[in-house]
Symmetry: C2
Subunit: 463 residues, 2 copies
Amino acid sequence: MPNGARSVGGGAASAEPWTEVARLVRSGDRARLESYLRTLPPAEVALSISRLDQEDQTALLMLLAPAEAADLLEEVPDAQAADLIEDFPPAPAAAIVGEMSSDERADLLGELDAEDAESILRAMDPVEAEGVRKLLRYPPDTAGGLMITEYLAYPDDRRVADVLEDLRAHGEEYSDYDVQYAYVTAAGTGTLVGALRLRDLLFAARDKPIAEVMITDPIRVAAETSLDDLQQLFEAHGFVGVPVVGPAGELLGVLRRTAVKEAVGRRAGGLFLKVSGIVGGEEVRSLPLGVRSLRRLSWLSVNIVLNIVAASVIAFYQDTLEKAIILAVFLPIISDMSGCSGNQAVAVSIRELSLGLVRPGELLRVLAKESGVGLINGMVLGSLLGGVALLWRGNPYLGLVVGAALAANTLLSVCLGGMLPLALKRLRMDPALVSGPLLTTVTDMCGFFLVLKLADMMLPLLA
Amino acid sequence: MPNGARSVGGGAASAEPWTEVARLVRSGDRARLESYLRTLPPAEVALSISRLDQEDQTALLMLLAPAEAADLLEEVPDAQAADLIEDFPPAPAAAIVGEMSSDERADLLGELDAEDAESILRAMDPVEAEGVRKLLRYPPDTAGGLMITEYLAYPDDRRVADVLEDLRAHGEEYSDYDVQYAYVTAAGTGTLVGALRLRDLLFAARDKPIAEVMITDPIRVAAETSLDDLQQLFEAHGFVGVPVVGPAGELLGVLRRTAVKEAVGRRAGGLFLKVSGIVGGEEVRSLPLGVRSLRRLSWLSVNIVLNIVAASVIAFYQDTLEKAIILAVFLPIISDMSGCSGNQAVAVSIRELSLGLVRPGELLRVLAKESGVGLINGMVLGSLLGGVALLWRGNPYLGLVVGAALAANTLLSVCLGGMLPLALKRLRMDPALVSGPLLTTVTDMCGFFLVLKLADMMLPLLA
């Protein structure tokens, strides 16, 4: 039965599981609810929770034991988990958060308003709360914000036998730690001095001091190290984790490779949402209508103002347009196509910035690289559109006006799109958020101006 | 010196390192080049390679020992690595690929044309080549495509002492494997029967059969398991890796958590590029101008045709527009704003699909959730634009026409944008690629139609 009951990937429940979950929640039968949830594949659990209404979701978490509730929250997206725990009284919320690992706690509480997070922290075990506060002090995408504070560390005056004895005595507890390394600190100061490969302990003489078995002066990272640098570090080395140290070299925590990979993935997912205009946090459709509507509007309302500004160029050339009304057909095409060409360059720049393949100061390099693409693509697209205009109306001057305008505007848009993310990064603004709207406003204005100005100059030939 | 020379995150070279790399490459001094590259932080290595011209890049890889060249290729993006190795004679290319780990080999060769990949495979060690061919047979984002084939496996008739002896004898070789588990297979058939935690061997009696120490019937995945299911599995369990099995339960490889996290991150990054119109593979600016230009044009040229189709609606209502030329100002605004609103809904749907929070068949559920947002945001944006039109021209009917058209088109666009990715997924098309262009074409047509049809009906009141 190797591919049987425990394998993953196939099968689906015949009835919808969330109706059963809702029924069990309302019946208040904790034991049957817990055993039912355990039979569901993780994907179905996340889906089922998102399908319950707010009231049932809260009742579900209240009904479960805190450890079960914590497991459950780890299976739903952070935004949804935060939305759930927000409405909870602080005491049960603290009990649930207390069952999570240190980095998951910090992730969840970091999603909440400072006020909500503080009331949960006050209801927690003071030592654990202090640990979370420490993690929350570091920005989320730094070594400090991503590290876990559950790690094994031994003073450097211990022997191999001491460590093996400790591992044996606390085996059950440590089995959650998922580490292949223990760390060695200077007895007294807590300064990191070495890393101990657990595998090496297998073959070491029991009475050796661990200082003789450890890897001395291991690679470490400062708590402030950025996600970009961490990503590079783990790409260059096969480490499962690296120790994180404070300003005096004291060991603060362990940063696992998986935490870095997850943060990189999360950032890429956030990038995708942001360029599409989903701002203010991840949106899942289980969030209340008002929240979803308002978050989307916050971005749209800035955009509509920018759009009105750009379109005012058309109003300015209204008389020209009236005399060659056919141009009105081409204005939205030139606006949209320039936006598309520019956004391709924006995407490549954002990607290259995040991969470290370009530095924010290298505007001229990007200009050199993009102007070639802009020139070629501008000429191709301009000829295409100009050709369509010529064939449709049989007027070569119309073809010339719209073709030349699109060609010139494509060149401008591609160059600007390539450079904008770098410039925004230098100004410490978010390229994923600001590049798109800013770019399309400028290219719309220039595109409309080019078409209408050229038309104005050749008006007798167009009519 | 805890935070000294070996810590990561600070510092930058004063001169540009790639000029020095280029100089050393041209001098042909392998030893000095290798030692110089070792002094560079990984970020600088990737950056430096991307700044060399094609000729220097090839010369660099030819000059280095195959193992060093392999390390180097692992530090640059896959697209760039593939572009480099493509121009290589098969024999040295095979020597470099031979130094990579099994999953990296498959990733790199998977990026090449089938022909280029085959000529490298023919020049490789036949056993290794067969291994790569096996991996290439699985789609990239499945357990089979992501697994590594370097793993520890022992027949179930061995004893603890045998395993420890093997580990001791091959310690150096295995140290690359980065595993905490060995696997146990049925002697003879190769069927997976257990997993052996290396830590447990520490405390086991040496003469015990490993079958008594192993975890029996461990969780495994079929080679075809999709990335979505794998992501859910690793979210639900703390595994560092899981065994991958074939149809008869035979052990094929090991899937590491990091491989899944990386694939998820890569998919999110690809998503971001695709929605921005970068298709046909990742673009880095070190690729040749022709390739970059052509790839971008392939998407733009489809888009311009769609744009012309959409704008033909305006041509159809040219007479109406001539009589109320002021509407030409509002057409691009309505086109752009509807596109923005719809793309927000597209992004949320693509995200929910990838998180497993919605199933491709649940069109009605999405419609119910999006129609509320569409209605609210449509009314807000419609009132805003209508208000601007009214204030600007003092004509309430103009405000009514553009406001009502934007409101109705926003509702349509949001509903359609939410449902389109689900429908495309069901039709086995790529939502990230197709949703945007398809959506904007439909919403442009409807938006232009709504404005111009409404205006046509109220023409005497607008003039």
